[in-house]
């Protein structure tokens, strides 16, 4: 219980506030990637590749690729940004900058540092996803995209929860990776499979076992749930399943993260 209670204590907010403060100081440079990435993706994949593909079958109806892609990019941004921040940036702060050690000599304890990192990764990823919403809106204004825009704000809490869950996965690898040289391993072994078996960029292929496996992938449910929501204005069970799987991930991974990071940071089993 102490592990989860720490999420609501002032020290976790103080760590989160530190990250926000640093980020806001560099807002003019750090805002470029989240704006550019979805823009490039929508241009190259949505318009470029989409013009080659034409339409594809989704839920027994034809759907042009741009419309298939838009909700997927939203889900993928939350997932990827959160994981990257909680793995790479947190590892740098823990291992090289030693800012964790500095924080741990104050009233801040490890559980606060970990929650602060997780909340920050989720906050940043959600903010990036919000930027994607703006980019999607711009495509809508240009007549390239027609979504049920009124549902867009409702996606934010779900994107935050998904980001928080994948932040806990990122922190798991932060705890176990022996060095920064091994940083690409979780991307190839975990992130790419999760990302590709998720209906974000393309429908799941008919491969034995893949559809069954995707049932346990919160990203798959989020992408499909957002698609129903933003294309048809229909909240479906996918969103509830995604939220449930994310909660399970958090309940399981956060205590494991704490235990592993305690060993990593303090050398203490």
């Amino acid at each position: 219980m102490r592990t989860f209670a720490a999420a609501f204590q002032w020290q976790s907010r103080a760590v989160l506030a530190r990250h926000v403060r640093v980020h806001l100081r560099n807002w003019h440079t750090v805002t470029l990637p989240p704006v550019c990435e979805p823009l490039i993706m929508l241009l190259t994949f949505g318009l470029g590749l989409g013009s080659q593909i034409g339409s594809l079958r989704w839920q027994d109806r034809d759907l042009d690729y741009m419309h298939y892609l838009a909700p997927g990019i939203l889900a993928y941004t939350a997932f990827m940004s959160s994981f990257f921040q909680s793995l790479f940036a947190a590892f740098i702060r823990m291992h090289f900058q030693k800012s964790w050690e500095g924080q741990l000599t104050t009233q801040v304890r490890l559980e606060h540092v970990v929650w602060g990192e997780a909340f920050w990764a989720a906050t940043l990823a959600t903010a990036y996803a919000a930027v994607v919403c703006v980019v999607l809106g711009a495509f809508g204004l240009m007549g390239q995209l027609s979504l049920r825009w009124e549902w867009l704000p409702a996606t934010i809490p779900l994107l935050f929860l998904t980001s928080l869950a994948f932040a806990s996965l990122g922190l798991f690898f932060t705890a176990i990776l022996p060095s920064i040289d091994h940083m690409s391993l979780p991307f190839f072994l975990v992130i790419m499979p999760i990302g590709f078996a998720s209906s974000t960029y393309f429908p799941l292929p008919d491969v034995a076992g893949l559809r069954e496996a995707a049932l346990f992938n919160p990203l798959h449910h989020l992408a499909e749930g957002l698609r129903f929501l933003l294309l048809e204005g229909r909240p479906t069970l996918h969103l509830a399943i995604s939220a449930g799987l994310c909660l399970v991930l958090l309940m399981v991974l956060v205590p494991v993260d704490m235990r592993l990071l305690r060993k990593r940071v303090f050398g203490d089993g």
Partner: protein
Amino acid sequence: MHSAASIPHSTPAGTLLEAVGLEKSLGGKPVVQGIDLAVSAGEVLGLLGPNGAGKTTTLRMCYGYLRADKGTIRIAGHDLTREPDAARRLLGVCTQDDTFDADFTVRGNLLQTGRYFRPRQPDLAERIEAVLDRFGLREFKDQKPDTLSGGYKRRLMIARSVIHRPRVLFLDEPTTGLDPHARVAVWELINGLRAEGLAIVLTTHYMDEAAKLSDRVHVIQGGRVRASGTPAAVLDDVVGEHIVLLSDTSAGTRSVLDWFRARGVRPALVLADWHIPLDAAGLAAFVAAFPGVAYEVRPPTLDDLFLALAAEGKGGDTNGVTKP
């Protein structure tokens, strides 16, 4: 939670740090095996010992970085385990490595550290200005810590550790790697903090530093306090009253060494000289037994303490070598 200024009634008068029966194993290996510490306001306790003796682990338990397997730690009467927020509010830490926040300036580091403490200091902004002046950091206040020299980085580390007005200060090898001038400057700061009434625990490898700054020292070896007291008393206890220096190349040295070893004395070779710790009676016996041997006698220093510990064969690395 108690306010920073309140002290529970159970606290012995003047004692700000009280650690009893500390034990800690890391990776299954016992590192600290029953250490007691007590430090009063305005007192500096030096922790001495070879690498791996358990000094830093002891310190880390005392400031709550590591959990003690056994034992209790009280900071101004607050139990560190049961009242972590109250206890940690009253302690400041300067770690061995520079652990400032590289994303902030010097001033930003002080401000950010102040934000990691509750109750908040209503006068934090004024406190930062005062600390910048006190530690000679004003001209660097808008610079990133990485751009500072080693001496000023240490100043920032210590400044950061006292920004919230702690009552107990832990300094883990605060002058390691500094040039003599910078070391003296840090010593002056530490002396000033002692004069303000902080209870200070200091680990160091520099014997002159321990002797100059510490009111008492604990010599730690193998996770236990091997000797304790004023630096002079500890030397007397562990090393002896005199150090006899004998050239390794002198004629007759071999037989002198054999004579000492037969009496349980363990000489240590430092470069080309044998260092032999003796009490007054031992010195008299040596002089009587070897009237023709050339030797020097000097009072022991804390460096000899490390050599003596190494010669006991229990410590970690040492500058001295004990020949078979």
